[in-house]
Symmetry: C2
Subunit: 457 residues, 2 copies
């Protein structure tokens, strides 16, 4: 994946050198000579990845990274720190700010480019999710990016695939401080466990006895059940070629032995945060879709859902010669409730009414708010008699138990009129069945309300 790489360094020659190398690899580059400029470029969405020097006058790289990673607008942009600092404490400090990697100069170019490519590829998938999230924000459905960026990356479920007992124990001990850890020595068992469990991260040793750990990583990345799970390889110095291979096919990160406990924690946390960032965006999208077919006040399906599902259901049940019935329920004198006790009390009644109707229908029925105080229930596989019985049961239930409103300070007696109809052979569309149910409702109202009228074809 080609990408726009932002190089942040206060020394112009360093910038130039990296620009030249990256251009040879067909990357596009931008440069910033200080932290604030770098942050501004990120906020404008002008780059896909940041190569960040640490020691800069004014705002140092640690602070720049911290700000990029804590801002919902920029949190998704990968940051690789590239620095002359070579103390483990610097490295750790960098990773703790949320950096995706921390490379010490002189940097091996092949390693750098393979890391940049891998991070940019992972970002391309997140970007697609992010675009949808931005759209949902524009429509006023809350801002999932804020929730996503606030994710701590703690309390995760981690799978550790390692068959060296001492090493497994040490890593598990460290990780258990913040996470729940499952250790698995056998790669086949690991595959089964991973497919069944809901892990936020897997760490895989490349040197399992008699098994290439990288193959396990490849399988994790291939299978539906596990491809969303971040992967960190545990490698030896001589594993360089396999590390590059792994990054190339989608492994997210790696740790070199001997494993530094704090680096382990920092890298695990970064991966968990990244995964949850995507999970939050996916969840928000799902919720938005759910919203589109849900009535705000009652939580029932809305008319849109009813109409889009009813025609399919209608056609299907006619094809199979199975009965299909409909109820239209309308609260009696609902306007009087609103006028006498206020709209809020009216809303309370509507919510409780919806809940009672739901309790007296089956999971396969469609229960939808149709208009102001009207609910439609579609009953698959039910004939007129059965539908009438269900309607009658609902009517009694509404009449017998008063509705409590105004924070339980008042009890209201409410009744409902219900029209019932079933699909008949001559119907060409569900609206004919609904029209008959509506006629039944009209008759029920005309006959004095609080009753059920079934309308034969």
């Amino acid at each position: 994946m080609s990408a726009r790489v932002l190089i942040v360094d206060d020394l112009f020659p360093n910038v130039k050198l990296l620009e030249t190398k990256l251009a040879l690899e067909y990357f596009d580059t931008l440069a910033a000579l200080n932290g604030p400029d770098a942050i501004a470029i990120c906020e404008k969405g002008l780059c896909d990845i940041v190569l960040l020097d640490v020691m800069m006058p004014g705002m140092d790289g640690f602070e720049v990274c911290r700000r990029i990673k804590s801002n919902p607008v920029t949190a998704h942009i990968p940051v690789v720190m590239v620095t002359a600092l070579d103390q483990p404490s610097d490295r750790l400090k960098g990773l703790d700010t949320g950096a995706d990697d921390f490379l010490t100069k002189p940097v091996d170019d092949v390693a750098l480019f393979s890391r940049v490519r891998s991070l940019v590829r992972l970002k391309a998938v997140t970007d697609e999710l992010r675009q949808r999230a931005l759209a949902s924000r524009a429509f006023g459905m809350g801002d999932p990016l804020i929730t996503a960026a606030a994710e701590t990356g703690l309390d995760a479920r981690i799978l550790l695939v390692e068959d060296r007992p001492g090493s497994a124990e040490r890593m598990a001990m460290a990780l258990q401080q913040h996470h729940r850890v499952t250790v698995e020595a056998d790669p086949h068992n690991a595959m089964v466990v991973a497919a069944e469990g809901d892990f936020d991260l897997a760490l895989v040793s490349l040197d399992l006895t008699g098994h290439d750990g990288l193959r396990l990583c490849s399988q994790f990345r291939s299978l539906d059940r596990t491809r969303g799970m971040p992967l960190i390889m545990i490698a030896e110095a001589h594993d360089r070629p396999r590390i590059t291979r792994g990054l190339d096919f989608g492994v997210h990160d790696y740790l070199m032995r001997p494993i530094d406990r704090n680096e382990l924690l920092a890298r695990a946390r970064t991966q968990v945060r990244r995964k949850r960032f995507s999970d939050v965006l996916r969840g928000a999208m799902q919720a938005s879709l759910q919203m589109a077919v849900t009535d705000v006040l009652t939580g029932l399906h809305n008319r849109r859902y009813l109409e889009s599902h009813l025609s399919g259901l209608f056609a299907e049940e006619s094809m199979r010669h199975r009965p299909l019935a409909a109820l239209i329920l309308d609260i009696d004198r609902f306007k009087a409730i609103n006028d006498t006790y206020g709209h809020e009390a009216g809303d309370e009644v509507l919510r409780a009414f919806a809940e009672r109707v739901r309790q007296h229908t089956r999971p396969i029925d469609i229960v939808a708010r149709y208009g102001g105080e009207e609910i439609v229930v579609i009953l698959p596989e039910a004939g007129l008699a059965e539908a009438h019985t269900i309607a009658e049961r609902i009517r009694e239930r509404i009449q017998d138990v008063p509705f409590s409103v105004q924070r339980d300070s008042r009890l209201l007696s409410v009744t409902v009129s219900i029209g019932v109809a079933m699909r008949c052979a001559e119907d060409t569309s569900p609206s004919e069945m609904l029209r008959r149910a509506d006629e039944g409702l009209y008759e029920a109202k005309a006959a004095g309300r609080n009753r059920v009228v079934a309308q034969a074809a």
Copy 2:
């Protein structure tokens, strides 16, 4: 990206050989010895890419590919035909069925693997979109996959970057049969044109005079405005390394000189279809989000939208010490309309009522359906007097022009009562302002309806 590769070949040794090679590259493999089995595996979503032999007893590879590409459930799965057939007509036939590539045996392994990797990476992004589309289908919002898969790939806007006049002319002539073509010889101009135009595809010569065409491809893939545009490289035999490089960073396909006219058309069409497939899914997602905040009957914003926007607007306007007003409008004796003329007439009145309210408000106002026959209008930067004037204008407009219902067969006189309020300094939330507007509405009803009552704090 690791992936599950489905190998389809009736000869078991061929399957084994390819399996072994792919396993060495850390791909997961599955095998099918005939077409129907291959299609079943694709339909179950068990593979990410298909390597398809052509000559098989029973259903041949052309038919298998045609079926995969025309089924909405499988149309997104890349297919690479790998065959001993070496006639241009076979190749063309394969591409015409929708195959993403057609490779003739003996196949160069490096070329095959780089192609597989590139197709699988592109699929990963589409998969994310597809998952959302499947969710929206589950919620009953239509099936965007059916529309997406039905895309023909014709009538596209194509950018051709080529500075050899003869070649440019021949290609443009061929493409113009089905598409609109813009030819650009200069890479810098091409960049400008591409960023401004809305192209469905760009074809880029790698051998532009004094310029590396691959760099232009990289820039197209990097920049926001152009990264969604598919790219086909035009290459010479000696360009192999750059082709691999291009596929690796996200170029979608390539054509070798001398260019076969029909192959050009087939490959262009495949890329246009692929792009539009994604575009349809994105559009469907956007539409679903829009639905979630729109009232089905009137097309106005719904209560969810109102509530999520109002609190932000309220806080903002108080901070800036700017006025903010609200109207609550309620159709007088609406229940009588429903009871006398039926629900459909009631719905007609509601739709027309909503439209008139919208016509008499400003684009910055929020107009939302609040309940059955109630509309709320939020007026930023309006004080009580101004809001009253607007309300009075709407009231008159409703009263003066009768509503036509039942397919224009009947005219109904309708009136509206309106409560008006504005934010006052003591308000801690917008619900207090709305409550006062509701009190105004109540007074208007009590005083005989068809009037506006402004309620001071």
